[in-house]
């Protein structure tokens, strides 16, 4: 009986993860398709374009890489640029690490591979909830797999439909809206409010920095301000 019970809790976490990730797909889908179109325009074969979505699996890095490839950028520069633009994921890694500590190496590998902006945003809010579920990694897996599948399918759609993809009707804006839906309920005291405001302000001031380094700077300042305001 106990095993059946555990299995059903895992399944419920997994399905809740799928459900939690669904709204974000509205915003991700147009980006996936546009990536597929851009990659083909940059001269990548269908196989190369699709493989990049599976191997790199990071939207903004993929956009940047195909643009740089079409400009004939040397491989070493491509590698460095791709690495730096994804450095912000180290923040996410630190953020989920305490929750992932009890997991097996295989789980750590699979979930880390899935640690994109869009999966992190949904998953961390679930981890931070007060309930004591031991199976939140199944939620992570459900959310991560949902996003991954959507990204692969939308890439393929972009590659094969090419210029015929419909206009996105401002659907890309739903990505910002989903992040708003996730963040605002999490701002529940003064330190987190100040962290959010200062991070937002620095993100604007540092918008000129390349490779999303402004976003890292903004997050670090926000974290520091949050900590500082706890103490007064």
């Amino acid at each position: 009986m106990a095993t059946t019970n555990t299995a059903s809790i895992k399944l419920r976490e997994f399905l809740n993860g799928v459900k939690g990730e669904l709204p974000i797909l509205l915003g991700v889908a147009p980006f996936g398709m546009i990536y597929g179109v851009l990659a083909t325009d940059a001269g990548l074969s269908a196989l190369d374009a699709q493989a990049m979505s599976a191997v790199v699996f990071a939207g903004s890095a993929q956009f940047m890489l195909v643009q740089l490839i079409s400009l004939g950028t040397p491989a070493l520069v491509l590698i460095l640029s791709g690495f730096i633009i994804n450095l912000r994921h180290a923040l996410y890694s630190a953020s989920v690490a305490p929750y992932m500590k009890p997991l097996s190496p295989l789980w750590k590998v699979i979930l880390s591979y899935m640690l994109t902006d869009e999966a992190y945003a949904v998953v961390i809010m679930h981890y931070q909830k007060d309930d004591q579920s031991e199976y939140k990694h199944w939620y992570f897996l459900g959310a991560g797999l949902t996003l991954w599948t959507c990204w692969q399918i939308c890439t393929a759609a972009g590659i094969f439909l090419g210029a015929q993809i419909p206009p996105n009707w401002g659907l890309d804006f739903t990505l910002a809206l989903t992040f708003i839906a996730l963040v605002f309920p999490a701002i529940d005291d003064r330190p987190s409010l100040l962290a959010a405001l200062s991070a937002g302000a620095v993100a604007l001031l540092a918008r000129g920095l390349p490779y999303k380094l402004g976003m890292i700077a903004a997050a670090l300042v926000g974290i520091a301000v949050g900590l500082w305001s706890e103490k007064r």
Binding site: F83, S93, A97, T174, A176, A181, G200, I223, A224, G226
Partner: protein, 106 residues
Amino acid sequence: MSSIWTVMIVVGLLTFLTRLSFVLLLERWKPPQVVRSALRYVPVAALSAIIVPELLLVNNTLDFSPGNARLIAGVIAALVAWRTKNALWTIAAGMTAFLILENFVL
């Protein structure tokens, strides 16, 4: 074309290792209390750093004016998010506001 594969595999590997970095590090290393407290602010700070420019930058210039549909729709969405804590309502309210402002008002 083989150099594209080299780039993909190396960038993919570096990205994966970045995402895995602290997950592995925290297996062995117990961070000081200040770091553990700091982690609480990562999601709010990181996601705000993504949201705010999305609402306020139009063609890479700041637009605080009421003519900025994303800003107004974002503020409405934020109010709905705060009251309902529901992603679908937030998106529906924000998108409705955005589409009305874009197409009929501004």
